[in-house]
Symmetry: C2
Subunit: 141 residues, 2 copies
Amino acid sequence: MGSFSIRELTREFGVTSRTIRHYEDIGLLTPERRGQTRVYSAADRTRLKLILRGKRFGLSLEESRQIIQMYDPAAGNRAQLERLLARLREQRESLLARRRELDAMLEELEAAETACQTALAGQARAARSVAGTRNTRRNNR
Amino acid sequence: MGSFSIRELTREFGVTSRTIRHYEDIGLLTPERRGQTRVYSAADRTRLKLILRGKRFGLSLEESRQIIQMYDPAAGNRAQLERLLARLREQRESLLARRRELDAMLEELEAAETACQTALAGQARAARSVAGTRNTRRNNR
DNA sequence: GTTGACGTTGACGTCAACGTAAACTTGGGG
DNA sequence: CCCCAAGTTTACGTTGACGTCAACGTCAAC
Protein backbone atom coordinates (compact mmCIF):
# COMPACT_ATOMS: atom_id res chain seq x y z
CA MET A 1 0.00 0.00 0.00
CA GLY A 2 2.92 2.29 0.59
CA SER A 3 4.91 0.50 -2.07
CA PHE A 4 4.58 0.02 -5.81
CA SER A 5 5.96 -2.19 -8.51
CA ILE A 6 7.51 -0.67 -11.57
CA ARG A 7 4.56 -1.79 -13.65
CA GLU A 8 2.11 -0.05 -11.41
CA LEU A 9 3.98 3.19 -11.82
CA THR A 10 4.18 2.84 -15.58
CA ARG A 11 0.44 2.35 -15.72
CA GLU A 12 -0.34 5.17 -13.36
CA PHE A 13 1.81 7.73 -15.12
CA GLY A 14 1.81 6.46 -18.66
CA VAL A 15 5.55 6.03 -19.01
CA THR A 16 7.58 2.95 -19.89
CA SER A 17 9.62 0.97 -17.42
CA ARG A 18 12.66 1.97 -19.40
CA THR A 19 11.96 5.56 -18.52
CA ILE A 20 11.68 4.80 -14.84
CA ARG A 21 14.87 2.78 -14.83
CA HIS A 22 16.54 5.58 -16.72
CA TYR A 23 15.66 7.94 -13.91
CA GLU A 24 17.31 5.51 -11.56
CA ASP A 25 20.39 5.27 -13.77
CA ILE A 26 20.94 8.98 -13.49
CA GLY A 27 20.18 8.97 -9.79
CA LEU A 28 16.76 10.58 -9.75
CA LEU A 29 15.10 7.57 -8.14
CA THR A 30 16.57 5.10 -5.68
CA PRO A 31 14.03 2.35 -5.04
CA GLU A 32 14.62 -0.46 -2.59
CA ARG A 33 15.20 -3.98 -3.78
CA ARG A 34 13.37 -7.10 -2.80
CA GLY A 35 15.82 -9.62 -4.16
CA GLN A 36 16.65 -7.91 -7.40
CA THR A 37 13.26 -6.46 -8.22
CA ARG A 38 12.65 -2.81 -7.55
CA VAL A 39 10.21 -1.70 -4.90
CA TYR A 40 9.11 1.90 -5.01
CA SER A 41 8.02 3.78 -1.91
CA ALA A 42 5.39 6.50 -1.78
CA ALA A 43 8.25 8.99 -1.71
CA ASP A 44 9.62 7.49 -4.92
CA ARG A 45 6.21 7.82 -6.46
CA THR A 46 6.06 11.46 -5.47
CA ARG A 47 9.47 12.08 -6.93
CA LEU A 48 8.40 10.52 -10.17
CA LYS A 49 5.34 12.68 -10.23
CA LEU A 50 7.47 15.76 -9.71
CA ILE A 51 9.83 14.74 -12.49
CA LEU A 52 7.06 14.19 -14.97
CA ARG A 53 5.33 17.39 -14.03
CA GLY A 54 8.62 19.16 -14.46
CA LYS A 55 8.89 17.73 -17.94
CA ARG A 56 5.51 19.10 -18.87
CA PHE A 57 6.93 22.50 -18.05
CA GLY A 58 10.02 22.02 -20.10
CA LEU A 59 12.38 21.32 -17.25
CA SER A 60 15.32 19.11 -17.99
CA LEU A 61 15.92 16.16 -15.73
CA GLU A 62 18.80 18.04 -14.17
CA GLU A 63 16.54 20.94 -13.33
CA SER A 64 14.05 18.56 -11.85
CA ARG A 65 16.83 17.08 -9.78
CA GLN A 66 17.37 20.48 -8.21
CA ILE A 67 13.73 20.79 -7.32
CA ILE A 68 13.57 17.30 -5.91
CA GLN A 69 16.55 17.95 -3.72
CA MET A 70 14.69 20.89 -2.33
CA TYR A 71 11.86 18.66 -1.18
CA ASP A 72 14.19 16.14 0.28
CA PRO A 73 16.59 17.94 2.38
CA ALA A 74 16.49 15.89 5.58
CA ALA A 75 16.71 19.34 7.21
CA GLY A 76 20.41 19.95 7.47
CA ASN A 77 22.10 22.69 9.39
CA ARG A 78 21.17 26.33 9.47
CA ALA A 79 23.31 27.40 6.54
CA GLN A 80 21.88 24.61 4.39
CA LEU A 81 18.38 25.57 5.36
CA GLU A 82 18.98 29.15 4.39
CA ARG A 83 20.45 28.23 1.05
CA LEU A 84 17.44 26.03 0.52
CA LEU A 85 15.12 28.86 1.41
CA ALA A 86 16.86 31.14 -1.07
CA ARG A 87 16.53 28.57 -3.82
CA LEU A 88 12.91 28.04 -3.00
CA ARG A 89 12.31 31.75 -3.46
CA GLU A 90 14.18 31.79 -6.74
CA GLN A 91 12.12 28.89 -7.97
CA ARG A 92 8.97 30.63 -6.94
CA GLU A 93 9.99 33.74 -8.83
CA SER A 94 10.72 31.81 -11.98
CA LEU A 95 7.43 30.00 -11.66
CA LEU A 96 5.62 33.26 -11.28
CA ALA A 97 7.35 34.53 -14.39
CA ARG A 98 6.17 31.49 -16.26
CA ARG A 99 2.71 32.10 -14.98
CA ARG A 100 2.73 35.60 -16.36
CA GLU A 101 3.91 34.33 -19.71
CA LEU A 102 1.24 31.70 -19.67
CA ASP A 103 -1.39 34.29 -18.99
CA ALA A 104 -0.07 36.33 -21.88
CA MET A 105 -0.42 33.32 -24.16
CA LEU A 106 -3.93 32.78 -22.92
CA GLU A 107 -4.88 36.34 -23.72
CA GLU A 108 -3.44 36.04 -27.18
CA LEU A 109 -5.32 32.83 -27.72
CA GLU A 110 -8.54 34.46 -26.68
CA ALA A 111 -7.87 37.39 -28.94
CA ALA A 112 -7.25 34.99 -31.81
CA GLU A 113 -10.42 33.20 -30.89
CA THR A 114 -12.63 36.26 -31.03
CA ALA A 115 -10.90 37.40 -34.21
CA CYS A 116 -11.72 34.03 -35.62
CA GLN A 117 -15.32 34.30 -34.56
CA THR A 118 -15.78 37.73 -36.07
CA ALA A 119 -14.22 36.43 -39.24
CA LEU A 120 -16.81 33.68 -39.28
CA ALA A 121 -19.55 36.20 -38.65
CA GLY A 122 -18.17 38.29 -41.50
CA GLN A 123 -18.31 35.29 -43.79
CA ALA A 124 -21.89 34.72 -42.78
CA ARG A 125 -22.82 38.29 -43.77
CA ALA A 126 -20.90 37.95 -46.98
CA ALA A 127 -22.77 34.78 -47.74
CA ARG A 128 -26.13 36.45 -47.16
CA SER A 129 -25.26 39.37 -49.39
CA VAL A 130 -24.10 36.91 -52.05
CA ALA A 131 -21.06 39.11 -52.58
CA GLY A 132 -18.25 37.43 -54.48
CA THR A 133 -14.82 36.74 -53.02
CA ARG A 134 -14.54 39.74 -50.74
CA ASN A 135 -11.25 39.74 -48.93
CA THR A 136 -12.26 40.50 -45.36
CA ARG A 137 -8.90 41.85 -44.38
CA ARG A 138 -8.33 42.32 -40.72
CA ASN A 139 -4.62 42.27 -40.20
CA ASN A 140 -3.66 43.61 -36.88
CA ARG A 141 -0.70 42.21 -34.90
CA MET B 1 12.56 49.19 -38.83
CA GLY B 2 10.20 46.43 -39.86
CA SER B 3 13.14 44.20 -40.72
CA PHE B 4 15.96 42.61 -38.77
CA SER B 5 19.28 40.99 -39.41
CA ILE B 6 20.00 37.59 -37.99
CA ARG B 7 22.45 39.10 -35.53
CA GLU B 8 19.88 41.50 -34.20
CA LEU B 9 17.56 38.63 -33.46
CA THR B 10 20.25 36.59 -31.79
CA ARG B 11 21.05 39.50 -29.53
CA GLU B 12 17.46 40.31 -28.76
CA PHE B 13 16.49 36.77 -27.86
CA GLY B 14 19.75 35.37 -26.64
CA VAL B 15 19.98 32.51 -29.11
CA THR B 16 22.68 31.67 -31.61
CA SER B 17 22.42 32.20 -35.35
CA ARG B 18 22.68 28.46 -35.70
CA THR B 19 19.47 28.13 -33.79
CA ILE B 20 17.67 30.60 -36.01
CA ARG B 21 18.91 28.94 -39.15
CA HIS B 22 17.89 25.62 -37.74
CA TYR B 23 14.36 26.91 -37.40
CA GLU B 24 14.53 27.85 -41.04
CA ASP B 25 15.89 24.43 -41.98
CA ILE B 26 12.84 22.77 -40.53
CA GLY B 27 10.51 25.35 -42.01
CA LEU B 28 9.56 27.34 -38.94
CA LEU B 29 10.91 30.58 -40.35
CA THR B 30 11.05 31.72 -43.95
CA PRO B 31 12.91 35.04 -44.09
CA GLU B 32 13.36 36.97 -47.30
CA ARG B 33 16.74 37.25 -48.92
CA ARG B 34 18.59 40.36 -49.91
CA GLY B 35 21.16 38.77 -52.14
CA GLN B 36 21.89 35.72 -50.09
CA THR B 37 21.65 37.25 -46.64
CA ARG B 38 18.53 36.69 -44.63
CA VAL B 39 16.19 39.54 -43.87
CA TYR B 40 13.64 38.94 -41.14
CA SER B 41 10.30 40.72 -41.06
CA ALA B 42 8.40 41.74 -37.96
CA ALA B 43 6.23 38.67 -38.51
CA ASP B 44 9.33 36.48 -38.52
CA ARG B 45 10.39 38.09 -35.30
CA THR B 46 7.00 37.35 -33.77
CA ARG B 47 7.21 33.75 -34.89
CA LEU B 48 10.61 33.42 -33.31
CA LYS B 49 9.26 34.86 -30.11
CA LEU B 50 6.43 32.36 -30.14
CA ILE B 51 8.80 29.48 -30.75
CA LEU B 52 11.08 30.45 -27.90
CA ARG B 53 8.21 31.02 -25.57
CA GLY B 54 6.87 27.63 -26.53
CA LYS B 55 10.21 26.12 -25.62
CA ARG B 56 10.07 27.64 -22.19
CA PHE B 57 6.84 25.73 -21.75
CA GLY B 58 8.29 22.49 -22.91
CA LEU B 59 6.75 22.51 -26.35
CA SER B 60 8.63 20.70 -29.06
CA LEU B 61 9.35 22.60 -32.24
CA GLU B 62 6.66 20.57 -33.96
CA GLU B 63 4.12 21.62 -31.38
CA SER B 64 5.18 25.21 -31.81
CA ARG B 65 4.68 24.78 -35.52
CA GLN B 66 1.05 23.95 -34.87
CA ILE B 67 0.54 27.03 -32.78
CA ILE B 68 2.24 29.24 -35.30
CA GLN B 69 0.03 27.94 -38.05
CA MET B 70 -2.92 29.00 -35.97
CA TYR B 71 -1.73 32.58 -35.91
CA ASP B 72 -1.03 32.58 -39.59
CA PRO B 73 -3.93 31.25 -41.32
CA ALA B 74 -4.60 34.00 -43.87
CA ALA B 75 -8.21 33.39 -42.91
CA GLY B 76 -9.26 30.56 -45.18
CA ASN B 77 -12.76 29.37 -45.81
CA ARG B 78 -15.45 28.67 -43.30
CA ALA B 79 -14.51 25.07 -42.61
CA GLN B 80 -10.89 26.02 -42.06
CA LEU B 81 -11.92 28.78 -39.71
CA GLU B 82 -14.01 26.42 -37.68
CA ARG B 83 -11.25 23.86 -37.42
CA LEU B 84 -8.99 26.66 -36.34
CA LEU B 85 -11.47 27.76 -33.73
CA ALA B 86 -11.69 24.25 -32.37
CA ARG B 87 -7.93 23.99 -32.12
CA LEU B 88 -7.75 27.33 -30.42
CA ARG B 89 -10.14 26.09 -27.80
CA GLU B 90 -8.19 22.90 -27.31
CA GLN B 91 -5.03 24.87 -26.88
CA ARG B 92 -6.72 27.10 -24.39
CA GLU B 93 -7.89 24.12 -22.40
CA SER B 94 -4.42 22.61 -22.30
CA LEU B 95 -2.99 25.95 -21.27
CA LEU B 96 -5.51 26.21 -18.49
CA ALA B 97 -4.56 22.74 -17.33
CA ARG B 98 -0.93 23.76 -17.26
CA ARG B 99 -1.89 26.81 -15.30
CA ARG B 100 -3.57 24.68 -12.70
CA GLU B 101 -0.53 22.46 -12.44
CA LEU B 102 1.67 25.48 -12.16
CA ASP B 103 -0.44 26.83 -9.35
CA ALA B 104 -0.18 23.48 -7.61
CA MET B 105 3.58 23.65 -7.84
CA LEU B 106 3.50 27.15 -6.46
CA GLU B 107 1.48 26.07 -3.49
CA GLU B 108 3.84 23.22 -2.80
CA LEU B 109 6.77 25.56 -3.02
CA GLU B 110 5.19 27.91 -0.55
CA ALA B 111 4.44 25.03 1.78
CA ALA B 112 8.05 23.95 1.55
CA GLU B 113 9.07 27.51 2.19
CA THR B 114 7.09 27.88 5.39
CA ALA B 115 8.21 24.43 6.51
CA CYS B 116 11.74 25.58 5.95
CA GLN B 117 11.14 28.73 7.92
CA THR B 118 9.64 26.91 10.87
CA ALA B 119 12.58 24.55 10.77
CA LEU B 120 14.87 27.53 11.01
CA ALA B 121 12.85 28.93 13.88
CA GLY B 122 13.06 25.54 15.58
CA GLN B 123 16.82 25.58 15.24
CA ALA B 124 16.88 29.03 16.76
CA ARG B 125 14.96 27.77 19.79
CA ALA B 126 17.18 24.74 20.06
CA ALA B 127 20.21 26.98 19.97
CA ARG B 128 18.83 29.15 22.79
CA SER B 129 18.02 26.16 24.98
CA VAL B 130 21.53 24.81 24.30
CA ALA B 131 19.91 21.42 23.82
CA GLY B 132 22.18 18.92 22.07
CA THR B 133 21.45 17.36 18.71
CA ARG B 134 17.68 17.21 18.95
CA ASN B 135 16.18 15.71 15.85
CA THR B 136 13.40 18.15 15.05
CA ARG B 137 11.41 15.62 13.07
CA ARG B 138 8.64 16.99 11.01
CA ASN B 139 8.10 14.48 8.26
CA ASN B 140 4.81 14.97 6.55
CA ARG B 141 4.34 14.33 2.83
C1' DG C 1 44.17 46.51 -49.77
C1' DT C 2 43.70 44.42 -45.74
C1' DT C 3 41.25 43.97 -41.60
C1' DG C 4 37.03 43.08 -39.05
C1' DA C 5 32.36 42.13 -38.46
C1' DC C 6 28.85 39.84 -40.32
C1' DG C 7 26.98 36.78 -43.48
C1' DT C 8 26.59 32.14 -46.10
C1' DT C 9 26.53 26.79 -46.90
C1' DG C 10 27.56 22.10 -45.98
C1' DA C 11 28.82 18.45 -43.03
C1' DC C 12 29.75 16.17 -39.00
C1' DG C 13 29.48 16.08 -33.68
C1' DT C 14 27.15 16.02 -29.34
C1' DC C 15 24.05 15.59 -25.64
C1' DA C 16 19.80 14.38 -23.31
C1' DA C 17 16.27 11.26 -23.04
C1' DC C 18 14.83 7.61 -23.88
C1' DG C 19 13.72 3.10 -27.44
C1' DT C 20 14.72 -1.53 -28.56
C1' DA C 21 16.52 -6.04 -28.73
C1' DA C 22 18.62 -10.06 -26.50
C1' DA C 23 19.38 -12.94 -22.99
C1' DC C 24 18.64 -14.10 -18.21
C1' DT C 25 16.13 -14.80 -13.51
C1' DT C 26 12.23 -15.47 -10.48
C1' DG C 27 7.77 -16.31 -8.06
C1' DG C 28 3.43 -18.14 -8.27
C1' DG C 29 -0.54 -20.91 -10.96
C1' DG C 30 -2.13 -25.00 -13.41
C1' DC D 1 7.47 -29.75 -12.63
C1' DC D 2 7.12 -26.56 -15.95
C1' DC D 3 5.50 -22.45 -17.78
C1' DC D 4 4.98 -17.66 -18.19
C1' DA D 5 4.35 -13.02 -17.03
C1' DA D 6 6.86 -9.67 -15.03
C1' DG D 7 11.03 -8.59 -13.59
C1' DT D 8 16.20 -7.90 -14.54
C1' DT D 9 20.92 -6.41 -16.97
C1' DT D 10 23.74 -5.13 -20.90
C1' DA D 11 24.34 -2.81 -24.82
C1' DC D 12 23.55 -0.55 -28.97
C1' DG D 13 20.13 2.60 -31.64
C1' DT D 14 17.26 6.74 -32.37
C1' DT D 15 15.42 11.36 -32.17
C1' DG D 16 15.32 16.24 -31.36
C1' DA D 17 17.75 20.26 -31.01
C1' DC D 18 21.09 22.26 -31.71
C1' DG D 19 26.95 22.98 -31.52
C1' DT D 20 31.09 23.25 -34.07
C1' DC D 21 34.14 23.71 -37.75
C1' DA D 22 35.84 24.70 -42.32
C1' DA D 23 35.73 27.34 -46.20
C1' DC D 24 34.14 31.12 -48.34
C1' DG D 25 31.36 35.82 -49.82
C1' DT D 26 30.50 41.02 -48.80
C1' DC D 27 30.98 45.37 -47.40
C1' DA D 28 32.28 49.50 -44.75
C1' DA D 29 36.29 51.36 -42.39
C1' DC D 30 40.76 52.41 -41.71
